[in-house]
């Protein structure tokens, strides 16, 4: 048996192609059922996410399916010419295919390394394949190995912890300060690009009370309409800040918008709740000494970038550690996978040895006149000799498998089987010539 995977991902394939080849849940089940009906000896799992479409297959080594056949199936199913997406396709087999799946399931092949979503999507793809009864011993074991690897990587490395962007760190900081970020009042000062990015992140985590305050009301309104949030006039900025929880400052200007003394007076001494100010404007909107006011936490873009950079470095180390885990688990799986071929080959070897001994015994008995009990005894003796010699050979095969890997052992047994076949056919030919 061999394992092959063919597919395309966000790395090389434009979204226009990916969306044409994407499968929803019902299409996935339909495609897998169709494949299983056509190639019932093979196993299939189809993974379709917004970033990748991959078809995994375990098939016969000789005369089984090829990666091209799988690409052809994708083309037929979606009625798109293979030429339209051939250049974007990647095809892996055996160890490379295993390594690829393990990396995909652990998010090491994702757009955002450490994201937890891909693991759920791989599990979902596998579940659909199980529902379509298109998996078997090999892919079942392979996908369980992928899930275990993903768990091992997430447990032993900090791959999923720590944001690697300024906006991400700002959101994490807000979540550290406020128990219920959804009800926190957010004031976005200015409608710059960076402010918009932060706004997107805050909306993503569920912030509901967002107010944009911009010098140009029209521009602010445009942004507010786009994100379905509230817009306020520039004159209402101070009023908005008084009861705000989070302030994102990205307004242009040559001087500070707020200085410590004025800000302190504006906020009043009775304000009890904390205020997180993310000042990403350059030049800054808030005087740095505002951070000294109790319950006010002021962060500039540089301070957040520093954290993002530290997280990025830590994540790089984790990626190396993750790849080592993948390498180890791939080797383990490949060893099991290759050793699967050894069992039937040893069976064939036993059969050939039996055949040779049978031929020789018959030749011997035909030349001598032995009675039935004596024939029986002779057969028993020959069988014992063959079994003892076979035991010796199998012991050596196991030794080779242990020392040099199952693939070497498979090669050795394969060559013994072929030689035994030759000997067996030679003796049969001789026998035929004589008779």
């Amino acid at each position: 048996m061999k394992i092959i995977v063919t597919g395309l991902s966000h790395k090389r394939t434009p979204i226009e192609i990916r969306e044409k080849l994407a499968f929803d849940s019902s299409q996935t089940v339909k495609a897998l059922t169709e494949l299983k009906n056509r190639f019932h000896e093979s196993e299939f799992v189809l993974l379709s996410t917004c970033n990748r479409i991959e078809l995994y297959c375990a098939t016969k080594r000789e005369g089984g399916l090829t990666a091209q056949d799988l690409a052809g199936f994708l083309s037929d199913f979606h009625n798109i010419k293979v030429e339209d997406f051939r250049d974007f396709l990647y095809m892996h087999s055996d160890g490379d295919a295993v390594r690829h799946l393990l990396a995909v399931a652990s998010s090491l092949d994702s757009m955002v390394i450490g994201e937890a979503q891909i693991n759920r999507q791989v599990k979902e793809g596998y579940k659909l394949a199980c529902a379509a009864k298109s998996t078997g011993k090999i892919l079942n074991r392979l996908f369980h190995c992928a899930f275990a690897t993903s768990k091992e990587i997430y447990t032993n490395t900090s791959i999923s912890s720590g944001r690697v962007s300024v906006a991400g760190v700002a959101v994490e900081l807000a979540m550290q300060l406020f128990a219920d970020i959804c009800s926190a009042k957010v004031v976005v000062i200015g409608a710059g690009e960076m402010g918009e990015l932060l706004l997107q992140h805050l909306l993503h985590v569920g912030c509901g009370n967002v107010n944009i305050v911009n010098r140009s009301y029209e521009h602010g309104l445009e942004l507010a309409n786009h994100y379905r949030v509230t817009v306020r006039k520039w004159e209402a900025l101070a009023e908005q800040l008084i009861d705000a929880d989070i302030a994102i400052a990205s307004a242009g200007g040559q001087d500070y918008l707020f200085r410590k003394k004025a800000f302190e007076e504006m906020m009043g001494s009775h304000r009890k709740k904390p205020l997180l100010i993310i000042d990403i404007a350059v030049p800054r909107n808030f005087e740095p000494s505002i951070n000294e006011i109790e319950n006010v936490y002021l962060y500039s873009v540089d301070e957040l970038s520093e954290v993002a950079e530290q997280n990025r470095k830590a994540r790089e180390d984790d990626i190396t550690a993750g790849r080592q885990i993948i390498q180890k688990n791939t080797a383990g799986f490949v060893e099991w996978f290759n050793s699967r071929d050894l069992g039937p080959l040893i069976g064939q070897m036993k059969e050939r040895f039996g055949q040779i001994s049978q031929n020789e015994l018959e030749q011997f008995l035909s030349r001598t006149s032995q009675d039935a009990p004596c024939r029986k005894l002779a057969k028993l003796m020959v069988d014992r000799i063959v079994n003892k010699l076979l035991h010796c050979v199998i012991k050596n095969v196991n030794f080779v498998a242990r020392e040099h890997g199952p693939s070497e052992a498979v090669k050795l047994v394969d060559s013994i089987v072929r030689q035994a076949e030759e000997i067996s056919s030679e003796s049969t030919n001789k026998e035929n010539t004589k008779s």
Partner: protein, 279 residues
């Protein structure tokens, strides 16, 4: 002798937990966290065994001495840790809490005495209510203090832009405030019950106590507890009037804890109290 050995094992267990707490902070990760829970669990079991031994020895509820009360306190604290560790996964929380427990258990060694027969007064409902309320008050104040400490640490780090030392390590700041306030409220309620029942005991069973009401009310232990109760009341009133900042509240909580700690341990070690329920 076996009691001492068992208690020593419990202490060693807490010491191991404290080392694990240090390691998980030092190693900057959570991988040691799952070792801590079984260790604390084992220590609690050993402490409970000590209490059972004492109960068998005096054939009564083993709450006659300070030593037993301290054991109960550390058991309750350990159980609080075990329950809260399900929800609060930050390493700072578990580390601080096991260090506090270790400090308490080491202080317990200082007040270790052989099991004493309970005084006749200890069997009265007033004394029982008083004992239980005061233990719960001590637990509440310690809980509030642990949260106050975490709040002050987190606040200091955030103010000084040491974000990496806070994110994922210290619980959410608002949650810490809520838990601190919860501990203060619970502490205030339990100390109030403890004081009322104590006063009732002093007024109704004075003869059984063998001291005058004047001595009872001017006992340093009682004065410390009344001071702690008053401070808790001040915190709650100022908080209600929005006149107290979170940082000030955290500092005042620590002051209450110091008073309670002195009332429980300090005066007993110094021998400056008549507050005793053993015969």
């Amino acid at each position: 002798m076996p009691e001492t050995i068992i208690f020593a094992i419990a202490t060693v267990m807490y010491a191991i937990a404290a080392v694990i707490g240090g390691l998980q902070l030092w190693a900057d990760g959570e991988k040691y966290r799952h070792f801590m829970q079984p260790v604390v669990c084992t220590a609690i079991v050993f402490e409970a065994v000590v209490l059972v031994f004492r109960a068998v020895a005096i054939k009564a509820v083993p709450l006659t001495g300070l030593f037993e009360s301290m054991i109960v306190l550390t058991i309750v604290f350990g159980l609080i840790y075990l329950f809260l560790s399900i929800a609060i996964r930050q390493v700072w929380f578990s580390s601080v809490i096991v260090w506090v427990i270790l400090a308490m258990i080491l202080m317990t060694w200082a007040v270790a005495r052989p099991a004493a027969e309970p005084a006749a007064v200890a069997a009265t409902p007033w004394a029982m209510a008083h004992g239980i309320a005061m233990i719960l008050a001590a637990v509440s104040v310690t809980f509030a203090t642990a949260n106050a400490c975490l709040y002050l640490i987190g606040n200091h780090k955030l103010k000084h832009k040491k974000i990496m030392q806070v994110l994922g390590k210290v619980p959410n700041m608002e949650k810490l405030e809520y838990m601190n306030l919860f501990g203060i409220r619970a502490g205030f309620v339990f100390i109030t019950i403890g004081l009322i029942s104590g006063l009732g005991l002093a007024l109704l069973r004075l003869a059984m106590l063998g001291i005058s009401i004047g001595e009872w009310l001017t006992d340093i232990k009682i004065i410390c507890i009344i001071a702690a109760w008053a401070l808790l009341a001040v915190i709650l009133v100022l908080n209600r009037l929005l006149l107290l900042k979170d940082k000030a509240r955290a500092v005042m909580t620590i002051m209450v804890f110091v008073l309670v700690l002195f009332a429980i341990l300090g005066v007993t070690i110094l021998g400056a109290t008549h507050h005793n329920f053993s015969g």
